[in-house]
């Protein structure tokens, strides 16, 4: 039997190859409760043209455009997973399927991204349209990229090839700071003496020149450094270090970040956290609290929510719902999942339902964070995406009779 979602998906995908329909080039999504930059508003229409949102308002009538009746439904920007190896790893335990290894500042995760990973459709049909993909490993692993979960090529999928520098400090923090401080000092020296270096008139550097080049935007504060850190004392050390080195940083993990909420707010340091982190799961998360996000938000910190998953990035909404359960305001949770990562990572035309923004949109049957809500419509870059994944195909294959395996017909 064809699910309602599939019916709507087929109706919404005029460019679906299977149907061979021509794209009208514009779509009006009519009458939904829309999460605008100023909060949710009922009965709004959203006009998409090409890959952009053109207009948002009540009663938009555009002849010649496809129309999606969305009364009683909810429209949000596509959710953004701010940190995952999605598309870099296919099967965790199979090394041959992994392209996530970090090496140094000049490494670019975007070069390993597979837009045709099975994980992509599984993730987007749950309403996640974008992911910041990051290399794994300890130390300065390399550069993270922003990808949208549509498009068959890297060129189509990668929206920005370098959005952050990734640093997972050695578990012994003084060692990690000792090493990074020395590297940044070299990078500064190299940055000032580039011409002289070309003529062999500088001191020798231990780091590779390409890595020193790659660190220049970090030194200028243009490229944020995302730091994996949980323990309050470690966050305090890193805040001090970032201030001394004049770095723009983002905290990833932040299990005990609530203890430094004021300091983080004052330093304007955003935090990527998983609301399901609990204490004392480890020595560094001893004081984790379920209301971490709520406390940080109340202090004025930019909060982003991560699933800390790969194959299950789709639980992002549930994780955010848990943060709301513990006191994060609902609107703040939606913002944390959309506009905040876009702003922090420099993609200002993403993560919002506003004229001129890239049309990454999700239509939900109800509250996007509730566990009974389903995705009924999905657009990435203005293109309607069928709500089909390998998992829905497997389900449908086995739905009627598990023993009736496919066979050709005469």
């Amino acid at each position: 039997m064809i699910s309602a979602a599939l019916l709507i998906a087929l109706a919404l995908s005029p460019t679906a190859g299977a149907t061979g329909l021509a794209s009208p080039g514009c779509t009006v999504i009519a009458g939904a409760k829309v999460y605008t930059p100023t909060g949710p508003q009922d009965d709004l229409d959203v006009l998409l043209r090409a890959d952009r949102i053109e207009r948002v308002g009540p009663g938009l009538n555009e002849p010649g455009c496809a129309r999606v009746e969305a009364k009683g439904l909810t429209l949000t920007p596509g959710f953004v997973e701010p940190w995952a190896q999605l598309g870099l790893i296919e099967v965790d335990l199979e090394g041959a399927s992994r392209d996530d290894e970090g090496r140094g500042p000049d490494l670019r995760a975007a070069e390993g991204y597979n837009p045709r990973s099975s994980v992509v459709p599984v993730t987007r049909v749950a309403g996640v349209t974008s992911v910041v993909i990051a290399p794994s490993g300890g130390g300065l692993a390399g550069q993270a990229a922003w990808v949208d979960l549509a498009g068959g090529t890297q060129a189509e999928a990668v929206q920005s090839a370098s959005v952050a520098m990734v640093w997972a400090p050695h578990e012994d923090l003084p060692v990690a700071l000792y090493e990074l401080r020395a590297l940044l000092e070299e990078a500064r020296s190299y940055g000032k003496s580039r011409a002289a270096w070309e003529q062999n008139r500088t001191r020798p550097y231990t780091a590779a020149p390409r890595d020193l080049d790659a660190l220049q935007p970090v030194l200028r504060g243009e490229l944020p450094l995302v730091v994996t850190v949980d323990r309050a004392a470690d966050i305090e050390s890193i805040l001090r270090f970032a201030k001394e080195e004049r770095l723009r940083i983002v905290i990833l993990g932040g299990a005990e970040a609530w203890r430094l909420a004021e300091a983080l707010a004052e330093a304007k340091v955003p935090v990527i956290l998983d609301p399901l982190t609990y204490g004392p799961s480890s020595f560094t998360s001893r004081d984790a609290r379920p209301d971490n996000a709520a406390l940080l938000h109340a202090a004025g910190v930019d909060v982003m929510i991560s699933s800390r998953q790969l194959h299950n990035v789709r639980v992002l909404g549930q994780n955010a719902g848990n943060a709301v359960r513990e006191g994060l305001p609902h609107d703040a949770a939606i913002t944390a999942l959309t506009a905040t990562p876009a702003r922090v990572f420099g993609l200002t035309d993403l993560g919002v339902v506003a004229p001129g923004a890239r049309a990454n949109l999700v239509l939900w049957s109800g509250d996007p964070l509730e566990l009974s809500t389903t995705v009924t419509g999905l657009w990435i870059g203005g293109e309607a995406i069928p709500l089909v994944s390998r998992q829905t195909l497997l389900r449908d294959r086995y739905l009627t009779n598990p023993a009736a395996l496919p066979a050709p017909s005469l």
Partner: protein, 483 residues
């Protein structure tokens, strides 16, 4: 008695043996029953004798009123009432409660009462928090078959995660060894109350269980060491050998029992027959063959599950529950026919190849086919929100055109896991006579926004949300966790 003088060298030993027989054996009084034979079951009892007394609570009677009462037994009373007495559910019903003068009345308007949740797959206590080398007690990965080890011996009752489960509404959990071994050892079914030792935390009367694993994990662990198993065929080979050895042991016990019976009938002359030598691993497997220990089998792929069912048929035992079983939907007809429970997740998949074909509708398709579907956690994070996981599994069903009532969905985390653990006579539903294990929720238990507000175990309040009282784990004591 005359001894022929010709038996020279044999004379002394014979004489002394005979004298020994005469000297050490006093005349038997008439009508003494012959000594009982040794039994596997008495050896079991010996191994299970407690030192710390199980917690004895005499909770006062409680009358919970005004809440929506979800029994997980096909009936919901909205509003309803539940009367608890002597640690049991005495009565329950709809509307106005009876006047139970001796009971303390608690008004729970706006709340929802369910049976306490049951997690069939947990490593709490054996992989205790905080994550530490010293706490790595879940996998005795020194041999692929360690049937003689017991999870109970590795559970740390001070694991801070135990009370986090209770805060999530869980009242009973099966603690299992990991899946590094083909046969990892016995699980233990715990009633989540604070005790000093693990044995006192056992759910009284719960059966023994055995953890088995198929597929990638055991063959990877031992294959990397260059020993068997290193392939799926090695997996089955080692498991079959282990069970056949246990079958031989069972036959030895049967032979011994028969010999003992014959010896007793013949007047119990001389020494009684000697029972088989002790072998903790083989005894455990023998008890599985006898149906006394319930197998809990970690297995992902449909074909691997069929192999395990074949193994069970070959040896004559029944698998009580598969665990994880991401491809169970592909063989749900077989599982339904054999009444094998399936403990699975709402949405985990992909971390290894045997998990590649996981789908969100697994539990729903199984339940529709008449299989006892269970949502388990295998995770301290999932265990704190089993209700949320069940909600997601129900949603996936709806997307596939399969709908479930609240009661049916609730069974996935209450009545069905109770059956999978062989404790369905005691817990898992709100019915008169069952243990008073209840979770009181501050809203719809399937909403992401709902908390467990109160958790009652054996009729005694064990958890109150946000009440600021001291944690029960000593590890957590002394932490100030206030902003």
């Amino acid at each position: 008695m005359l001894i022929p003088m010709r038996s020279g060298p044999l004379l002394l030993p014979l004489l002394s043996a005979f004298a020994g027989l005469l000297a050490c054996r006093p005349p038997k009084p008439p009508d003494t029953p012959p000594p009982e034979p040794a039994r596997l079951s008495s050896l079991e009892e010996r191994g299970l004798s407690p030192v710390e007394a199980a917690p004895v609570i005499n909770p006062p009677p409680l009358l919970l009123t005004g809440a929506k009462v979800m029994t997980a037994a096909g009936v919901t009373h909205d509003p309803g009432w539940v009367l608890l007495r002597d640690g049991r559910i005495a009565e329950l019903g709809a509307g106005e409660p009876p006047a139970a003068q001796d009971a303390r009345r608690i008004d729970l308007a706006g709340r929802v009462i369910t049976p306490g949740l049951i997690d069939t797959h947990s490593h709490i206590g054996v992989y205790a928090a905080p994550d530490a080398q010293a706490h790595s007690d879940g996998n005795e990965m020194t041999s692929p078959v360690t049937a003689g080890v017991w999870s109970e011996h590795a559970v740390w009752p001070e694991d801070p995660q135990l009370e986090l489960l209770v805060a999530g509404g869980v009242t009973t959990a099966q603690i299992l060894p990991g899946s590094g071994n083909l046969i990892g050892g016995r699980g233990v079914i715990l009633h989540l109350v604070p005790t000093r030792g693990a044995r006192a935390m056992r759910l009284p009367g719960a059966p023994e269980t055995l953890k088995m694993a198929c597929g990638e994990n055991p063959k990877r662990v031992y294959g990397e060491r260059g020993s068997e198993p290193s392939t799926r065929m090695g997996n089955l080979h080692v498991q079959r050998e282990a069970f056949y050895a246990a079958e031989r042991l069972l036959r030895d016990w049967e032979d011994y029992t028969q010999e003992h019976e014959d010896w007793a009938k013949d007047g119990a002359e001389g020494d009684p027959p000697t029972p088989p030598d002790r072998d903790l691993a083989q005894e455990t497997l023998a008890l599985v063959l006898r149906g006394d220990i319930l197998p809990q089998v970690h297995c992902y792929r449909a074909d691997d599950m069929l192999n395990m069912l074949q193994l069970a048929d070959e040896l004559g035992f029944s698998i009580r529950s598969f665990h994880h079983a991401l491809e169970a939907y592909k063989i749900r007809d077989v599982l339904a026919e054999r009444d094998v429970a399936v403990s699975t997740w709402a949405d985990w998949w992909g971390f290894k190849l045997e998990a590649w074909d996981g789908i969100e509708a697994n539990a729903a398709m199984l339940a529709q086919a008449g299989v006892r579907a269970v949502i388990h956690s295998d995770s301290p994070i999932g265990a704190q929100r089993l209700n949320q996981e069940a909600a997601k599994a129900r949603r996936a069903g709806a997307q596939a055109g399969i709908t479930f009532t609240d009661d049916q969905t609730l069974r996935w985390i209450t009545a069905n896991p109770a059956w999978a653990l062989g404790v369905e006579d005691q817990v898992g539903t709100l019915e008169p006579g069952k243990r008073a294990d209840l979770t009181v929720w501050d809203g719809d238990p399937f909403s992401v926004y709902t908390h467990a507000e109160l958790v009652i175990i054996d009729g005694s309040l064990r958890y109150r949300h946000d009440d600021g009282s001291q944690p029960w784990s000593d590890w957590t004591l002394g932490r100030e966790v206030t902003p």
